[in-house]
């Protein structure tokens, strides 16, 4: 358990002292959201209607950006090889890294989401629903991201490949995430969507460290 906590605190310290990495990510999130009105026009009613989707897409893209940092630097400086030899299982190390990834790449976005809500003319109810659905859904994105990063860490051009691999897997997260905010026609299924989103997140967070650890372990010799 000691090893788990030290990996977790190492990851968090690295990204806190990494020269404003988190701020860059937050800035990217806000800019992606703020660029959309230029593309679709400053119509407040339309913006309010598509705002949940915009916030989710911005969060999704921002979380994909940080993936290369998940295992890439550790492999480059040999830390990953040491993790494989450590006396805690590699899946525990990966789990610590997934949690750290969520804390440093997803939580700041959620904290910054009020800015986007203001810019996109969201009302208070849908804003709180957005925060809830992001809180419940982003762990699943972090888990899938770990799998994508682990599968591509041994390749030379992993950077572009990981998002391509993960995006199809993340479709359910986006569907339930947006469904939890704005019911698209028919009866209000937001409650069901929230429960399904939470179930999906739990499953992915539990299983993804094992899959990612397997991929890392067998991708090396």
């Amino acid at each position: 358990m000691n090893g788990f906590w030290s990996v977790l605190s190492r990851e968090i310290r690295l990204s806190l002292r990494g020269g404003g990495e988190i701020l860059t990510l937050v800035l990217f999130f806000v800019i992606v959201g703020a660029v959309v009105p230029f593309a679709v026009g400053p119509d407040k009613a339309l913006l309010a209607r598509i705002a949940p989707g915009i916030v989710w897409i911005a969060a999704f893209l921002a979380m994909l950006l940080g993936l290369e940092k998940l295992f890439g630097p550790d492999r480059a400086d040999g830390t990953l090889a040491l993790y494989r030899l450590a006396d805690i299982p590699l899946s525990a190390v990966v789990a610590a890294k997934v949690i750290a990834h969520w804390l440093t790449a997803a939580l700041p976005l959620i904290l910054a989401s009020p800015v986007l809500a203001l810019l996109l003319a969201m009302d208070a109810t849908s804003f709180w629903r957005t925060v809830l659905s992001l809180l419940l859904g982003t762990p699943a994105l972090a888990g899938f991201g770990a799998i994508g990063a682990a599968v591509t860490v041994a390749t030379r051009r992993g950077g572009l490949l990981a998002p391509i691999l993960i995006a199809p897997l993340s479709v359910p997260v986006l569907i339930f995430g947006v469904g939890a905010i704005a019911p698209t026609g028919g009866p209000d299924q937001a409650q069901a969507a929230i429960l399904l989103l939470a179930a999906l997140s739990l499953m992915v967070v539990v299983l993804s460290p094992f899959a990612a650890a397997l991929a890392i372990d067998w991708g090396e010799d």
């Binding site: 030379r156 067998w218 991708g219």
Partner: protein, 253 residues
């Protein structure tokens, strides 16, 4: 009395040797190809000339004879890949790697064909090439997964290492596909419900069902033939790489 622990040359062990595998399965390719050709000839004749046009859709119903078999294969090929991935991860069977690699582009091609024929069929019957409906969307997502797996194969230089990593991802995808299917169905549904395999029997008349089943087997045998041929090609490609490497080392010495 001593216990003999040397591995026996069972057919399973022989299959795991690439050269033996090619020698054993090579005679199968030509008969399989002939069978595929005959099935296609019979199925197409039945489908295009012998079966009646449908009451509401007219002659466009004949697109079904290509659309439904390719859609079935788009899922069957993934199942083949998932079983091969298990073979790679559990038994480290060398031919499972090759089978997994050969199946990925075939699956992508069949999925693309299913989507293409589906949109050709959708235009006259639904009035649109594309509709964001449950089954079409999940087939599109499946195509993206296939293409991602092909891209992942190509990103590695060492194919033996690639096999194990791709196997992990293939199994992750296999766990995810039902979830994707469920979520997309939950999201939107317009496509007609399944009408061939149902508990109360098929809802289509026999003269349409016969060519459908013939085409179904024709496409499945097409897949098996192409899969074997692609596996043989992959075995030879790996042997060439090994020979080239050996030759390069010999020159350097």
């Amino acid at each position: 009395m001593t216990i003999d622990t040397t591995p026996k040359m069972t057919w399973w062990n022989r299959l795991s040797h690439p050269g033996q595998f090619v020698a054993l399965t090579r005679p199968l390719v030509l008969p399989l190809a002939l069978l595929t050709g005959v099935l296609f000839a019979v199925g197409l004749w039945y489908g295009l000339f012998s079966s009646p046009p449908e009451k509401y859709m007219g002659d466009t119903v004949r697109i079904m004879y290509v659309h439904v078999p390719t859609a079935w294969l788009s899922q069957f090929v993934y199942a083949t890949m998932a079983v091969s991935a298990l073979g790679t991860l559990v038994w480290r069977h060398p031919m499972a790697d090759v089978s997994m690699k050969a199946a990925a582009p075939l699956g992508a091609a069949f999925t693309a064909m299913a989507l293409f024929t589906g949109s050709l069929w959708g235009r006259p019957t639904w009035g649109t090439f594309w509709e964001w409906d449950g089954r079409m969307t999940s087939t599109l997502v499946l195509l993206f997964i296939y293409l991602g797996i092909v891209a992942l194969w190509r990103a590695f230089d060492d194919q033996l290492r690639a096999a194990r990593v791709v196997a992990v991802f293939t199994l992750v995808g296999a766990v995810n596909i039902p979830i994707i299917k469920f979520s997309v169905d939950w999201w939107s549904t317009l496509h007609q419900p399944a009408s061939v395999f149902r508990a109360d029997g098929p809802t289509m008349p026999g003269e349409i069902l016969t060519p459908l089943f013939v085409m179904f087997f024709a496409f499945t045998f097409l897949f098996i033939t192409l899969q074997l041929a692609a596996m043989h090609t992959e075995v030879r490609r790996r042997r060439i790489t090994t020979l080239e490497r050996r030759a390069a080392r010999g020159d350097a010495r």
